[in-house]
């Protein structure tokens, strides 16, 4: 029978391999690994690869401290396929590898939440570059941190700014039906309604290419501003088509719009688009310019949104590992690394200065409002990529909910301070 032949073959294979496994020696124990999880395949891979590249660059540039201490830093990227099953399965493989001391990820909150249950159960620290869903940190796990903003703060920032623009009385809200896009759009809507802006529509769409049908009611309703909860890859195309169809109002989006690609996708209509972001401008964070240059050189493309945050998240993790290793006088335990990450204070990152609160949110979030300018869309240095030097219109300093509560208790007013 065929089965017995296959059986014999498998047997030989297993025997041969168990022999080789005994022959190959275990590696030096001073290897420390950083893992990342993000979608590297599928339609969301563009942002996922950006996260992967950000981590890669940080590991290449920032592991000198640890190397001086005698450790070798290795980077292991995982593809979570934007699917919870795959993310959890990867998470189990990650926690089983004792050499991995930190995880940077994920892109999707839907994957991050179940996967972080696994990390947390095994004391492995996760620093998220992109999960803006409030729930990620509201569980108050000691191992879960994020360097990005929160939907429930970023949405209102946008709404407040929209309200302050002269002539904006009605808004039309679109979102991409993901946890990120819908979350930020809902927060925008709540605040807009509170500010008595007329919300003409609140619509979700999974469409990624042909927006003709969606645009028709917008043209008929004539909103002053369209808010789009989502990512540039979808809404850049939307803006292009809306402008071509004759919409003449304003556009606004969240930090998913912070990419030079927006200029390419939306064409001339990109000029004037507002977006909110937690990533500071290059003028305030000079390192960011260097990062963009290094990133473009290494990977041949401009950084996507969250790539800089991934770099910062990795930097925080590496610094924490170095501190923990020094304290432990050897390879630190995962719990030590987690508490060191949480203890991060005034870390000067590419895009912001970060101190974590007890939930793992940045204590004080700086939320910026930008507007895309002609110069930002132009390609002055001729590298085929827009310069993305956008005008900073507003900076808001908003404490995280935990901080705000603490401040209220101390009878301080947690009011946002505004600088024009």
């Amino acid at each position: 029978m065929k089965t017995s032949r296959i059986l014999a073959l498998v047997l030989v294979l297993v025997l041969a391999l168990s022999l080789t496994s005994m022959m190959v020696k275990a590696q030096d124990m001073t290897v420390i690994k950083i893992a990342s999880q993000s979608p590297l395949s599928g339609p969301q891979s563009q942002l996922g690869v950006g996260i992967r590249n950000g981590v890669d660059l940080a590991v290449q540039q920032l592991s000198t401290d640890l190397m001086d201490m005698g450790y070798e830093i290795q980077y292991v990227p995982y593809d979570d396929q934007a699917t919870p099953d795959v993310g959890v399965s990867n998470a189990q493989a990650i926690v089983a590898d004792d050499a991995i001391l930190a995880v940077i990820g994920h892109l999707n909150s839907g994957v991050a939440i179940p996967s972080s249950e696994v990390y947390n159960a095994n004391d492995l620290v996760m620093v998220s570059p992109a999960n803006t869903n409030p729930l990620v940190t509201d569980r108050a796990y000691p191992t879960v941190n994020r360097v990005c903003g929160r939907d429930d703060l970023q949405g209102p920032t946008g709404a407040n700014f929209a309200d302050s623009i002269e002539g904006v009385e009605s808004v039309y809200i679109l979102h991409d039906t993901t946890a990120y896009g819908q979350g930020v759009a809902e927060a925008f809507q709540t605040e807009a309604e509170r500010l008595e802006l007329t919300v003409l529509g609140f619509e979700g769409t999974e469409e990624t290419a042909n927006f003709d049908g969606l645009i028709q009611p917008i043209l008929a309703l004539e909103p002053d501003l369209i808010y789009m909860g989502g990512i540039y890859s979808q809404f850049g195309i939307f803006i292009n088509q809306a402008a071509a169809a004759g919409y003449t109002g304003l556009y606004m989006g969240p930090d998913g719009f912070d990419s030079t690609e927006l200029a390419e996708l939306a064409g001339d209509a990109a000029v004037g688009v507002y977006f909110t972001s937690v990533a500071g401008p290059a003028s305030l964070y000079p390192n960011a310019a260097q990062f963009i240059e290094d990133y473009t050189e290494s990977f041949g493309e401009a950084p996507t949104p969250f790539a800089a945050q991934a770099y910062d998240a990795t930097a925080i993790a590496l610094a924490a590992i170095a501190r923990a290793a020094e304290a432990a006088g050897g390879v630190p335990s995962r719990a030590d690394v987690a508490s060191e990450v949480r203890a991060t204070e005034n870390y000067e990152g590419l895009t912001s200065t970060i101190t974590f609160d007890d939930n793992g949110d940045p204590e004080i979030g700086l939320y910026y409002v930008f507007q895309v300018t002609e110069d930002g869309v132009a390609d002055a240095d001729g590298d085929g990529v827009a310069d993305w030097q956008n005008e900073l219109l507003q900076t808001l300093e908003i404490p995280s909910p935990l901080m705000a509560a603490a401040m209220a208790e101390m009878e301080m007013t947690p009011e946002a301070t505004t600088t024009p």
Binding site: L15, V24, Q27, G42, D79, P84, Q92
Partner: protein, 455 residues
């Protein structure tokens, strides 16, 4: 005596099987994650162990011995290995989940011949059922943190079966008259509808919490003794584990998944051999003839939908509790399609084949391909140079990093598998006969054509 005859002797086969098991277990347990070629070794060591029940089943051993060997592997070897390395436990649990789903779909597609492209919907119904009641998000069934106690999980498994079967009948009713690809598109639409509903039913009444998903879903309480057992294993194997609770939960879900899968296999076997199963076969082979023979078409088609859905419902409840988080992203069309791929790759209609298909496809997707890219990455990290062609792995362009192209390889393997084994890895006997008959017919036709051309 030829080698084959020698191998068919029960004693020889028995010794070989035991040797196989021992080698596989030792291989898996001796692996060290620090090893630079760990991914490669793990890929070679673990799948043979997972596949060992199939090898045992195919061996010429007496039935009772086979059964006890398989039970040994499932009830003792797997949990111990799973406690030793949680990644394996997760993998086996997911394999059980997908195998159960594939068996359910097999009832609809394999037995009754009704192509269903929206099967994941019933799985979603089960998952959301448990999560709506026990999540820490306020839903219409769960206000102000009012929680259904964890032990009701076992009750909900039954409720999931009933509700999913009901939804199956609801879907079945309007589409009974449709055949073949018309049915396929309607079921596809149904699957999408359930997903869109899950995504949008947070307003006006919050059922599913929309795209944010339901988090903090409750788990059933740990069975007494499980933590102690797990602690015992970790101590005897000398593994450092500070926190035994997650390990114990993994073991618990593994055993629940195994139990559900076992029940599904039993139910599917009973269905297959029953008059109902034969009537399904009749419908599958020729609907008109089946009606002529007095097969009650409507009732049987509905029954196929209902029983397939029921299996998925129970597994959905388990999935919700295991993940503790449910969101619409888990229930996309791609998932329906990959379950269909498991059924067809394994061998439509046959129970053993379908389970094998689920094992192979899940292992490929979650272990083999992952390990392949991890291996390349590890070699890149130590700047490995491929001998003979003198190629630096680190010079491989980052655009072509293997982790990004797991889907591509998966697609390629699917094509290769069906081309070389068109009836599946373990074809159902009836299908195999059919295929042979078709081939003979085709050859006859070819011969005729040639004869004509020459004449």
């Amino acid at each position: 005596m030829t080698l084959r005859e020698w191998l068919r002797q029960p004693t020889v086969a028995g010794v070989l099987i035991v040797a196989y098991l021992v080698v596989a277990i030792v291989a898996v347990l001796s692996l060290d994650r620090g090893n630079i070629i760990f991914p490669l070794l793990s890929t070679c060591a673990f799948p043979p162990l997972v596949l060992s029940p199939f090898v045992i089943l195919a061996s010429p051993l007496p039935g009772r011995l086979k059964l006890s060997l398989i039970l040994l592997v499932i009830m003792i070897v797997m949990p111990v290995i799973g406690i030793y390395d949680g990644a394996y436990m997760e993998l086996v649990t997911q394999i059980c989940i997908f195998a159960g789903l594939a068996l359910g779909l097999n009832v609809v597609v394999g037995f009754a011949g009704l192509l269903d492209l929206g099967y994941i919907a019933f799985f979603a119904v089960g998952a959301y059922l448990w999560s709506m009641f026990t999540s820490n998000v306020d839903t219409v069934f769960n206000i102000n943190g009012w929680l259904v106690p964890g032990w009701t999980f076992y009750l909900f498994l039954l409720v999931g079966v009933v509700i999913a079967a009901g939804v199956g009948i609801l879907l079945g009713l309007p589409v009974l008259r449709l055949r073949g690809d018309y049915l396929a598109i309607v079921t596809l639409g149904f699957g999408e509808m359930i997903r869109v509903l899950a995504r949008n039913l947070d307003t006006p009444i919050n059922f599913t919490n929309g795209s944010q998903g339901l988090s903090g879903v409750q788990r059933p309480p740990l069975v007494p003794g499980l933590s102690e057992g797990a602690t015992f294993v970790t101590q005897t194997m000398n593994i450092r584990t500070d926190n035994i609770e997650p390990v114990a939960y993994q073991v618990l879900f593994y055993f629940i998944a195994i139990a559900i899968l076992g029940l599904i296999i039993l139910a599917a076997r009973r269905l297959e051999d029953s008059p109902i199963g034969r009537a399904w076969t009749a419908i599958r082979e020729d609907e008109v003839a089946a009606i002529a023979m007095g097969v009650p078409l409507v009732r049987l088609k509905l029954l196929a939908f209902a029983s397939g859905a029921a299996f998925a419902g129970a597994i959905g409840v388990l999935y919700g509790a295991k993940q503790t988080f449910v969101s619409p992203e888990s229930f996309s069309l791609i998932q329906s399609i990959s379950i269909l791929a498991m059924v067809i790759v394994g061998g439509m209609g046959g129970i053993r084949g379908v389970v094998l298909g689920a094992v192979v496809v899940t292992l490929l997707n979650l272990q083999v391909l992952k390990n392949f890219s991890l291996q390349i990455n590890a070699l890149k990290n130590i700047d490995y140079v491929v001998p003979i062609i003198n190629f630096h792995i680190s010079a491989w362009p980052s655009q072509l990093e293997p982790a990004k192209y797991e889907r591509l390889v998966f697609g390629l393997l699917l094509v290769i598998m069906v081309i070389f084994r068109p009836a599946g890895l373990l074809p159902e006997p009836r299908r195999r006969m059919e295929l042979l008959a078709d081939k003979a017919e085709a050859q006859d036709e070819d011969a005729d054509g040639k004869a004509k051309a020459e004449g």
